[in-house]
């Protein structure tokens, strides 16, 4: 019995860990210990006991509930899950065969294969036909393959942008059939409603109000953390009575020489540049909303948006809706022009205490030039942090990433959870 339980608790912990919950050995031992004191056959007690010992942060509650109901199921439901997962893997293999170029499969990773799988039949057919026509085309040599791959990826990316229902939570498979089936069930099979972990791109207009409330919560926590961390510089020094008395004993107990407790730190200033071209718009909207809320308690935030030029944002009267409407910029992204403009016209915001945050997928014209500007700015400011909404696994595909990484610390940032985590890490 105990072995059986141990096994389940360990596997369940692994599922939670796959979603980034910090479940360690000590949590697992507590869970096993806890199970001794409850009615094992009572599912709600069982769930409560695991939750109390494995989950230590309320934001993980929703994940726990999802994972629990996907993991602890009857054997025949488990069979269905495994079947469902196998069907999915088989379907991926099918896709690979469908999308062959002169008898070799196109080099598409699992994300792209899943994207294709989620397209409506009509769209799938269009992609498929395009591939086969190209493959059979006259004068088409095998050197064409990489080009075709690029085109198909582009088309899939475009579809993903257009279709909000394509929600893919990337999880690394564990390599154990049953666990992977559970992971699959949790990611693909559910209606992920958790705004915090959702890719910001897929936050719907109808959910803006909820998102705003969530952002307020996150920023309140962050702001109080920042003010606590930096408060001591402005506060009146506190007398250390104990040290003072000790010193005073020599003078018959008169407090001659007051000793102080002290700390000193300077509050950071934030300069943020948000890319609002094409697919970056949503990320920038939410990030700016976040900054706007944060600016209520951290007044020294200077925000700019850019595409092929740069414009300063006034937080008073700023709203997401308004940004969607007034798209006055052209198509292209040019980080170089944006940085040049920043250094030329807003020189005064780049100070030794400022942290420059750039939000962009790095896809830009004049990358080399932009990197040079970054280098120069880096010397003036405390730090440059780059928020990149592209999945980290894909970064190597963009040469601009490594170019810019030389001068900044780059973080993956596509959900509100990641955004608040990055900021917490850098400022608290």
């Amino acid at each position: 019995m105990i072995n059986y339980l141990e096994d389940h608790v360990a596997r369940f912990a692994q599922v939670l860990r796959s979603f980034g919950l910090p479940v360690g050995t000590s949590e697992m031992l507590d869970a096993l210990e806890a199970l001794k004191y409850i009615e094992l056959m009572d599912k709600s007690q069982f769930r409560a006991a695991l939750k109390a010992t494995l989950v230590k942060d309320p934001v993980h509650d929703a994940f726990f509930e999802n994972a629990f109901s996907a993991y602890f199921v009857d054997p025949d439901v488990r069979k269905e899950q495994v079947q469902g997962h196998q069907d999915h893997l088989a379907a991926r293999e099918e896709v690979k065969k469908e999308l062959e170029f002169q008898d070799t499969a196109l080099d598409l990773n699992e994300r792209y294969l899943d994207m294709y799988l989620q397209l409506p039949d009509m769209e799938q057919k269009r992609v498929k036909d395009f591939v086969s026509r190209t493959s059979e085309g006259k004068n088409v040599t095998s050197s064409f393959k990489p080009i075709l791959e690029k085109v198909i990826k582009g088309a899939l990316d475009y579809q993903k942008e257009r279709r909000k229902e394509l929600r893919l939570v990337p999880v690394e498979p564990v390599g154990e059939e049953e666990i992977d089936a559970v992971l699959h069930q949790i990611t693909v099979g559910n209606k992920e409603k958790d705004l915090l972990y959702r890719n910001m791109e897929y936050i719907d207009e109808s959910e803006y109000q909820e998102a705003r409330v969530l952002i307020r919560k996150l920023t309140r926590r962050l702001a109080s953390g920042i003010s606590r961390r930096y408060q001591h510089s402005s506060k009146i020094k506190r007398v250390d009575l104990r040290r003072s008395i000790r010193a005073g004993i020599r003078y018959g107990g008169t407090l001659m020489d007051l000793k102080y407790k002290q700390k000193k730190m300077q509050k950071p200033e934030i300069v943020i540049l948000c890319d609002i071209s094409g697919s970056m718009l949503k990320y920038s909207q939410f990030t700016l909303l976040f900054m706007q809320a944060l600016s209520e308690s951290l007044p020294r935030i200077n925000a700019f948006v850019f595409a092929d030029n740069l414009e300063k944002i006034d937080f008073m009267g700023f709203s997401v809706e308004q940004m969607t409407q007034s798209q006055i910029w052209g198509e292209g992204t040019n980080i170089n022009t944006a940085l040049k403009n920043l250094m030329g016209n807003h020189y005064q915001v780049l100070r030794k205490v400022s942290v420059l945050i750039v939000l962009s997928d790095t896809k830009s014209l004049q990358g080399e030039e932009a990197a040079k500007k970054l280098k120069e700015i880096k010397r003036r400011v405390k730090e440059i942090v780059w928020l990149n909404p592209l999945p980290k696994a894909d970064w190597s595909r963009y040469p601009t990433v490594s170019l810019f990484q030389k001068y900044c610390s780059m973080r993956e940032c596509s959900s509100l959870a990641q955004l608040s985590k990055v900021l917490t890490k850098h400022f608290i």
């Binding site: 004191y37 409850i38 009615e39 409560a48 939750k51 109080s224 009575l241 018959g252 107990g253």
Partner: protein
Amino acid sequence: MNRIVFYSLSEENRKDEIMDFTLEQLSEKFKEENYICGEEILVPVYLALQLKKPLLIAGAPGVGKTEIAKVLSKVLKTELIRLQCYEGLDENKALYEWNYQKQLLYIQANKDHDSAVDIFSREYILERPLLKAIRAPKRVVLLVDEIDKTDAEFEAFLFEILSDFQVSVPEFGTIKANEIPVVVLTSNGERDLSDGLKRRCIFLHIGFPSIEKEVEIIRRKASALGGELTWQLARSVAYLRNEIGLRKKPSISETLDWAQALLAFNADRMTEHLIERTMNVLLKDQEDIETFINKGGAGEMLKRVKGRGKVERD
């Protein structure tokens, strides 16, 4: 199986006083103390007692975090020692302070002759909650309330104390607890607590109660309110919490305040006028008040919570 055994050895080590409950009994006791909750709350509380680990309770203001510690001390028939945390709380105020006035008096009275009295001895110590809990002869409930208001430094210090319940006062050595206290920590989530502390604790996140539970709570704590009005009140609060996107959702204590306000107006039914006159008990943030009005105000709320009971306009 399934029982808590408390051996509270008295100082002289004479007799074992045993208190033991099952989960069901704990549930009964909580009900007796008018704390209304289900297994999602009872199980973590019970486990913390069984595994002798601190219970860390998180949740929005006014959902009944502090109350759990109070109820526990009543259920266990023991003293509640409370350490209220705040910004700037330090070791001295939490553990012990030197009674420096007494020290000064002594030094000044004796400044002309050499005296050998040690002014850093027990006699000159002022016990603060943590030391009090450690020195208590009997098992106590130690409530560390709103731990998230302190800084990380203090949290680390507290973590040490919670590890072994002993402190060393340089002037006279180590003091160790007779009985490990039952520890309850509460947090409003203003700041993330350290992983170490979280790892040591059993965790309980309290959300807002269901309408049924809230009705039960109102019945217990504002029993003079009529049955139908009680339901409407609970539904109204649920509407405010879940449907209009407020910045600060009304808490259970605000529900109870509202119940009292309605009683003060001698209300027996919900009306728009009554809601408008008492709304300030529930919504305190200007922006929230505007949100409420923009979403249709009292009229809309009344429409939404209309049950089988009588709801009339005036």
